[in-house]
Structure formats: structure tokens, C-alpha cells
Symmetry: C2
Subunit: 189 residues, 2 copies
DNA sequence: GCCTGTAGTGACAGTTACTGACACTACCAG
DNA sequence: CTGGTAGTGTCAGTAACTGTCACTACAGGC
């Protein structure tokens, strides 16, 4: 067997790249974890030491995203209303999204055609909402309201993100603020 | 082997009951699909003819829920603003929720302690949001706004549902309307 | 009463995601 | 040079899920 560098992060990186490639080339269902491992130059067992399951390999960035969001909420000015706090948080994440845009695009294409991956994506979004709920609660907002705020904020963010994907010329920061405003118009009158 | 009635819906019903029992008795992870099938008096293969996977057996009611929601949106008065349409839709589903309350409670307990089931629950919620988005689009609302509305409406509904679980004395219909109102206050000023 | 089609099922073999246990190797601290 | 630690390979095993085929209950026409 080949001698492999002991730095685990390298194997992890290669596994991520190999999985994305294979999922794009032959589809998620037609790819086995053994194939991913082989392409990355490790064994299947090593794959499962780095990622909990076959899906998780595509969702490695979530922790970083969550950290930025939570920090932005925590450092928001006091007295700022709940939804503006959300706008602030999602705005803080814009640079990361811009930096990762091309890989994110490839990921999104695979997820869009794979129900199993969509399911995981929903769970990751829910985890972000949980984290945002906690962060809002720490600001003194009651938990039910905090949860509602986090969900509504996430909905606005997704709306902005989709608009951004359609018309990349627009500024994502502006789109986020507009989506938040739009929420407040849905009640009519 | 025993002679089994040919009416598939009976096996399906027994499988649902057996799965809920076993998941509650020993936990989801410690339950095998073979055990569910045995308790329901069928083979494992028959289980997978009725349900796509080990999780789906707990989420059989979604189609009915979706039908009611979509119908309520379709038959809502013209000129009603988007969010009030959502309130109307979720209000229409209240009787079903009241009727199923005890089973729903047991289901919720199992789901609450099982990440794999939570993931599926998120996916089911997302499917409802998709259906609501389509229904709103049919009313002439643009798709991005329809999607935002469906997500915000679902967030309000969940907020009402949680409040209802905590204080069952309150009227769910009222709680839904209040949650929708609360959304409009999140912007401040 | 018999024939025929259809839907539901049992039996069985096979693939693959995932796990536990153990041994080995690169590297780091002293 | 030594001992500890983290990452890995190997192997065996479990359980979710699938394909295929044969069989059985039942409904309808004749």
C-alpha cells in the first residue's frame, strides 16, 4: 500500500473533491463510497472516519457559516429589531458566499437533482436556524419569537440568494435587505 | 406461512402501527425493518413495497395535509393578501390536527430524539412549502414571492403549533393568526 | 362453476452503506 | 531514543434496500 501523509486534513480535502467530481460525473446514486475513497487515495474506512455518511461530504462548510452568523447576531447593536438583526447576520456572510461561488454552484447542481442530498440540505438549514435562534435568545428575545425570527430571516435570505443566482449582476447585500422588506408587505393593507 | 388478507391497506396500517410502537419501545436505531414487518405479520420485502424506506412509515399523512392546504389556497377569495391566504390555509387544517392529536404527539416524541427522522420531517415540510408555492403561483403571485410567502407562512404555523403543544387550552386557529401578525412586527418601528 | 387478469405477497439472492476491533505507521515532545 | 497520539489499512459483520420469480387471493366475464 502507498505511504500516505499523516495530515488528515489533506485526505479530507481530497475526499471532498473526489466526491463532488464523482457525484457530478455519474450521479449520487451511481457513486459508491468505495469509489470516492479510491479516487481520493484512501480506503472506504478512512472516508467514514472523516465524514459521517455518504451525504455529509458535500456539506462541510456549514460550521464556518454558522460561526459567522452567530457572531454577527451576538455583536449586533442593542435595540436593533429582530429582523434587522437577521439582515445584518446574513450580510456578514456575503463575502464567504462570493468567494465560494463557483464550487457552491457545482454543489447546488448536484443537490438539485438528488433528493437524498436535498434532504440533508434542509437539515443543515434547520441547524443554522437553531443556532440563530440560540443567538437571538441570548439577546433577550423570547425563544418562540427568536425561532420565528430565525425562520423568517432564513426565508428572506434564501429568496435573496435565488434572485442572486438568476441575476448575478445585482448586489447580494441589497437583495437581502429587499427580501426582508418584502416580508413585511405580505400581510397586505 | 400464514394466509394474509389481500387488501394491501390493512398491511399498510399494521406496518404503521408496528413501526410507531417499536420506535417508541426501543428507539429508531435499535429497530430493524425486519422487526417492524414481523410485528405487522408480513415480510420485510412487503414493508418496502409499502414504504420507500425505514423513515417513510412515520410520515404517511403528508399527502392528505398537502391536499387540504392546496385546496384552501386555491379557493381563497381573490384580492386576499398573500399572508392572510396562508393563515386561511393552515386554519383549514386545524380539524385534522385536532383529530390526530394523540398519535401526532407520539410521533413527535420519537422524531424529537431521532436525527434521521428529523431530517425526513424537514423534507416533508419542504414538500409542503413547494406545494403551497405552486398554489400561490396559480393565484397570480410571482414565484419568488410565492415561495417567500409559503416559507413565512409555514414558519408562523410552526410557531403556533409549538405554542399549542405547550398550552393546549388555547385555540390553534387563534394562535395561527397571532403568529402571522407577529411576523409583521419583527421589522421594528 | 371455470377462466383470466391483477394486485398483493413470500422467498431468496445480491449490493452497498456503515460500524467495531485491531494492528500499524508517521510524527511530535521530551 | 522513547513514549504518546493521530491517522490509516485490514477484516469481519450488520442491516437497509433492490431485483426477480413464483404463488395466492379476489374480481369480472363467460
Amino acid at each position: 500500500m502507498q505511504i500516505m501523509p499523516r495530515d488528515g486534513s489533506q485526505a479530507r480535502t481530497r475526499l471532498r473533491a473526489a466526491a463532488l467530481e464523482l457525484y457530478r460525473e455519474r450521479g449520487y446514486d451511481e457513486t459508491t463510497t468505495a469509489q470516492i475513497a479510491t479516487r481520493a487515495g484512501v480506503t472506504e474506512r478512512t472516508y467514514f472516519r472523516h465524514f459521517a455518511d455518504k451525504r455529509e461530504v458535500l456539506f462541510d462548510g456549514e460550521a464556518e457559516l454558522r460561526a459567522i452568523l452567530v457572531n454577527a447576531v451576538a455583536t449586533a447593536p442593542d435595540r436593533l429589531a429582530p429582523l434587522p438583526v437577521m439582515v445584518r447576520a446574513f450580510t456578514a456572510v456575503v463575502p464567504l458566499l462570493i468567494a465560494n461561488r463557483s464550487v457552491a454552484q457545482q454543489r447546488a447542481e448536484v443537490i438539485a437533482v438528488t433528493p437524498a442530498l436535498q434532504e440533508r440540505a434542509y437539515a443543515k438549514t434547520a441547524a443554522l436556524i437553531d443556532a440563530l435562534t440560540d443567538a437571538l435568545t441570548a439577546r433577550g428575545i423570547t425563544r418562540p419569537t427568536a425561532r420565528l425570527t430565525a425562520q423568517v430571516g432564513m426565508a428572506a435570505f434564501e429568496r435573496a440568494n435565488r434572485a442572486w443566482a438568476d441575476t448575478p449582476a445585482h448586489d447580494l447585500t441589497t437583495l437581502i435587505a429587499q427580501a426582508a422588506d418584502e416580508v413585511l408587505t405580505l400581510g397586505g393593507t
